[in-house]
C-alpha cells in the first residue's frame, strides 16, 4: 500500500484536501452516529450503552411510521411534480415561439434563490384556514374552506407544494441545459419524416435526456429524504406531516435524545443507500451504465 501511495503520491496529494475533509466531517461522524445509535445520550452526560433498544422503540413508535409515510409521500409526489414541471418549463424556455427568453429564464429561477424558511412563512399565510389566499380563491370559486394546516388529511399538501415550487427552478435549469445540447438536426430530420411533436418528444427528447433525468431523480430523492424546512415551518397536527429528517432533529436536539436521533439517522442512511442501489441496479440492467 505504501508503495502504491509513494508511486501515485502526486494524485493522492491533489485529492487529499477533499479526502481529509471527507474523513473528518463525513466518515467519522457517520461511524460515530452508528455507535451513538446504540446508546442513551442527552448530550450533557456521558453516553450509556443500551444495545438495540432505540431500534426496538422505533418499531413501536407511531411518530416514526408517520415520518416514514410522509417522507415517502414527499419523495414520490415531489419527484413526479418537480420532474414533470421542470421538463415542461424547460421545453417552454427552449421553444422557438417563446419571446423574451432571458426574462423568463431569470423569472423561472427566482423561487430557488428565495430562502426556504421565508417562503415557508409566506406559504403558512397563504394556506391559513380563515384568512389565507388559497381558501379565499376556493371560496370565490364556490368551494369551501379547507383546513390545510390544521388537519392531518391535508397537512402534507402545502409541504409538498412548497417543496415542488422551491426545487423546480433548479431542475428546470439542469434539464434546460440538457435540451440545449440536443442538436436541432434530429428534430429537423424527424419533421421531414413526418413525426408529430409528441413522437419527437418521446423518441428524441426523452431518450437523449435520459442521463440528465436520472441525475435529477437521484438528486430529488436525496433532497426529499432530507426535507426539513418545509415540514418544520408548515407543521400540521402532531406528526401528520413531519418528515423523517425533522423527526431526527426533534428527537436529537429538542428532546435531547441523541441516541434515538442517531438511530433515526442510521435508518435514513440505510434507506438512501437502498434506494440508490436499486436505482443503479435498474440502470445497469437496462444497459444505461
Amino acid at each position: 500500500m505504501w508503495q502504491t501511495l509513494k508511486r501515485h503520491r502526486y494524485p493522492y496529494l491533489f485529492i487529499s484536501p477533499y479526502l481529509i475533509l471527507f474523513l473528518v466531517f463525513q466518515l467519522v461522524p457517520t461511524i460515530a452516529t452508528v455507535y451513538y445509535s446504540f446508546t442513551e445520550w442527552n448530550g450533557l452526560r456521558a453516553p450509556r450503552w443500551i444495545g438495540w433498544r432505540n431500534y426496538q422503540l422505533m418499531m413501536n413508535d407511531y411518530m416514526f411510521s408517520d415520518a416514514i409515510r410522509n417522507t415517502f409521500r414527499y419523495w414520490i409526489v415531489g419527484a413526479i411534480g418537480i420532474m414533470g414541471l421542470s421538463l415542461l418549463i424547460a421545453m417552454l424556455l427552449n421553444s422557438k415561439v417563446l419571446r423574451a427568453k432571458q426574462f423568463f429564464r431569470t423569472a423561472t429561477f427566482l423561487p430557488y434563490v428565495c430562502a426556504s424558511v421565508a417562503m415557508g412563512l409566506i406559504f403558512r399565510m397563504l394556506f391559513e384556514e380563515h384568512a389565507g389566499l388559497i381558501n379565499e380563491i376556493l371560496l370565490s370559486l364556490g368551494g369551501s374552506r379547507i383546513p390545510w394546516l390544521t388537519s392531518s388529511a391535508y397537512a402534507w399538501i402545502p409541504v409538498v407544494i412548497l417543496f415542488v415550487w422551491r426545487l423546480t427552478p433548479w431542475f428546470t435549469m439542469i434539464i434546460f441545459s440538457g435540451l440545449l445540447n440536443i442538436s436541432d438536426e434530429y428534430y429537423e430530420a424527424a419533421t421531414v419524416d413526418g413525426a408529430s411533436g409528441w413522437q419527437q418528444f418521446v423518441r428524441i427528447t426523452l431518450p437523449l435526456l435520459n442521463h440528465i433525468l436520472f441525475f435529477c431523480f437521484v438528486t430529488i430523492t436525496v433532497d426529499a429524504w432530507r426535507l426539513f424546512n418545509e415540514s418544520h415551518i408548515l407543521s400540521g397536527p402532531g406528526t401528520s406531516n413531519t418528515s423523517l429528517f425533522e423527526l431526527m432533529y426533534t428527537s436529537a436536539f429538542k428532546n435531547f435524545k441523541l441516541g434515538y436521533g442517531s438511530a433515526l439517522g442510521v435508518v435514513l442512511i440505510l434507506i438512501l443507500l437502498g434506494i440508490s442501489l436499486v436505482q443503479f441496479m435498474v440502470r445497469r440492467r437496462t444497459g444505461e451504465i
Binding site: 442527552n42 448530550g43 450533557l44 452526560r45 422503540l57 413501536n60 413508535d61 407511531y62 411518530m63 399565510m125 391559513e128 384556514e129 380563515h130 384568512a131 383546513p147 394546516l149 390544521t150 388537519s151 392531518s152 407543521s235 400540521g236 397536527p237 402532531g238 406528526t239 401528520s240 426533534t250 436536539f253 429538542k254 428532546n255 435531547f256 435524545k257
Partner: protein
C-alpha cells in the same frame, strides 16, 4: 527607616481614600462584553442594561442575543459544551425551571446560593422556588408573572353580560354560551390553537395546575391517563371547544389579532405576558380591554400558576464578569427611579416589561398607575393582584420537554377533530409510557 515610614504613610493614605471615596475602590474589569441569551425581545432589556453596566464598568458592554425558546438556548449551550467551545457560550441565559434543571444536571450553571441568601428578604416570596434544587439556588429571579383573564369590556357591555361572572370556570363557560347566543355565533369566548400553543397556554400553564393535574406521580410513573385533575382540566377545554366557544386560529399570528380587533374574540385566559402582544398588535380595540384574576374551578380554588423566569450564570470556566452581572441584575431589580423610567419607555415603544420582583420597587405608587390600553385600569396592579392566590406549578422533570411534545401531538390531533379528548388523554398516557417510561423526579 525613612523608606519604611514613607511606605506606611502611602498605605495609610490609600486606605483613607478608599474609605472616604468607596467608588474608587470599585472593582475594575477588563474591556469586553457580557453576552446574554434571552427569549422575547431582549434588545428592549438591553436599553436598560447598557447604561446600567456603564455605571459599574464603563469599558464593558452588554450584548443580548434573542433565542427562539429557552430550550433552544439550552441546546446551544449543550452543543457548545460538547464541542468544547466554551468561549462561545453566553455569560448569562434566561431560563425556566426545566432549562435550569437540565443545565444544573450538566454542571453548567454557577451556584447562586451565597449571593442570594443575604438579599432574599428584599424580594417577593417564592421568587427562587423553581430555581432551587436540593436546597441550592441556581438562578436569580427576573419575573414572576400570574395567569390572568383579559377581556374586551365593550363586547360584554354590548351583550349585557357581567364580566364578574367569570370569576369561576362555571361562570366563564356560561359567559361563553351567552356571548354565542346573543351574538348569533359571531363572538367567541376565546381561541384555540391548532399547534403546540394549546397545550402550553391552555394546558401546562393554565388549566392543568389549576386543577391540580399531574403527568407523573411522586415516583415519576406516568399517571396522566388516570389523573382526575387532568380529566377536569382537559375536560373543561373539551367542553369549551365542543360547544363552539373557541375560535380556531394560530397564536401570535395576524389572523388572531385581526379577529380580536374585529370583536370576534372576547377573552384570553393566559399569562400576563399577553399584555405586550395585545398592546403591540391591536389598534381598534385600544381602551376596551380589561384584566381580572383567572377564573377558579370552584369556590376556594386557586387562581393559576405563576410563570417564573430566571437569569442563570453559565459556568464557562471564566468568571471575569460574574460580579459585574450580579451588580447589573441587582440594579435592574431594585433601582426604583431607573426601573420606572425604563418601564415608561417600554410603554411608549409597546415593548415588554413585567412587574418587579423587589418588594421595595413593587411598593412604589408607580406600580398602581392606570393604563390607557386598559381604559384606565392599572394593568400593573392587576398583575400584582393576580399573584395573590397562586396555584402550585406542575412538578417539573428533565423529561418534561419530551413529554410536552408527546402530549401536544395528541392535543393537536384533538383540535383537528381526529380524536376525542378521552382518546387524546389515553394516547398521551400510552405514548408517555412507551417513550419515556419513568421521569427523574427532582
Amino acid at each position: 527607616m525613612h523608606r519604611k515610614s514613607m511606605l506606611l504613610s502611602l498605605v495609610a493614605v490609600v486606605l483613607v481614600v478608599m474609605v472616604a471615596f468607596p467608588a474608587l475602590a470599585q472593582k475594575t474589569y477588563p474591556d469586553g462584553k457580557i453576552l446574554i441569551y434571552s427569549t422575547g425581545q431582549p434588545h428592549f432589556r438591553e436599553s436598560f442594561y447598557q447604561p446600567s453596566i456603564h455605571r459599574f464598568a464603563p469599558n464593558v458592554d452588554v450584548e443580548t442575543v434573542q433565542i427562539e425558546t429557552m430550550h433552544a438556548g439550552v441546546q446551544k449551550i449543550a452543543m457548545d459544551n460538547l464541542a468544547g467551545a466554551y468561549k462561545d457560550m453566553p455569560d448569562v441565559i434566561m431560563l425556566d425551571a426545566v432549562g435550569i434543571m437540565n443545565l444544573v444536571d450538566a454542571g453548567l450553571l454557577l451556584d447562586m446560593t451565597d449571593y442570594w441568601t443575604p438579599i432574599a428578604d428584599q424580594f417577593v416570596q417564592g421568587a427562587v422556588l423553581d430555581a432551587t434544587i436540593d436546597g441550592r439556588v441556581w438562578a436569580l429571579p427576573d419575573a414572576v408573572r400570574p395567569q390572568l383573564l383579559f377581556y374586551n369590556a365593550a363586547i360584554f357591555e354590548e351583550y349585557d353580560i357581567d364580566p364578574a361572572m367569570m370569576a369561576t370556570f362555571d361562570g366563564y363557560l356560561e359567559a361563553g354560551r351567552l356571548l354565542k347566543e346573543r351574538s348569533n355565533g359571531e363572538v367567541y369566548l376565546s381561541y384555540i390553537d391548532p399547534t403546540t400553543y394549546t397545550w402550553r397556554y391552555w394546558g401546562r400553564r393554565g388549566l392543568m395546575p389549576q386543577a391540580n393535574a399531574r403527568i407523573w406521580d411522586e415516583k415519576g410513573n406516568v399517571v396522566i391517563g388516570q389523573d382526575e385533575g387532568t380529566k377536569l382540566a382537559l375536560g373543561f377545554l373539551d367542553q369549551l371547544h365542543s360547544e363552539g366557544l373557541l375560535y380556531r386560529t394560530t397564536m401570535m399570528q395576524p389572523p388572531l389579532y385581526e379577529a380580536t380587533d374585529q370583536g370576534k374574540i372576547a377573552t384570553f385566559y393566559i399569562g400576563a405576558f399577553w399584555d405586550e402582544f395585545l398592546r403591540k398588535n391591536l389598534t381598534k380595540t385600544v381602551g376596551d380591554w380589561r384584566v381580572m384574576n383567572a377564573p377558579v374551578f370552584e369556590e376556594g380554588g386557586t387562581g393559576g400558576a405563576p410563570v417564573s423566569t430566571y437569569f442563570c450564570v453559565v459556568d464557562k470556566g471564566d468568571d471575569t464578569y460574574v460580579d459585574l452581572f450580579l451588580d447589573m441584575w441587582y440594579d435592574f431589580s431594585t433601582n426604583i427611579e431607573e426601573r420606572n423610567a425604563w418601564v415608561n419607555e417600554m410603554e411608549r415603544l409597546n415593548g415588554p416589561y413585567s412587574n418587579p420582583v423587589s418588594l421595595d420597587v413593587l411598593a412604589d405608587p408607580f406600580w398602581q398607575e392606570p393604563s390607557a390600553f386598559y381604559g384606565g385600569q392599572s394593568f400593573r396592579k392587576a398583575e400584582a393582584d393576580g399573584l395573590a392566590n397562586p396555584s402550585p406549578n406542575m412538578t417539573v422533570t428533565p423529561q418534561d420537554n419530551e413529554a410536552d411534545g408527546i402530549i401536544s401531538a395528541e392535543i393537536e390531533k384533538y383540535v383537528a377533530g381526529e380524536q376525542t379528548m378521552e382518546q387524546a388523554i389515553a394516547n398521551m398516557d400510552k405514548e408517555l409510557k412507551l417513550r419515556i417510561g419513568r421521569a427523574d423526579m427532582p
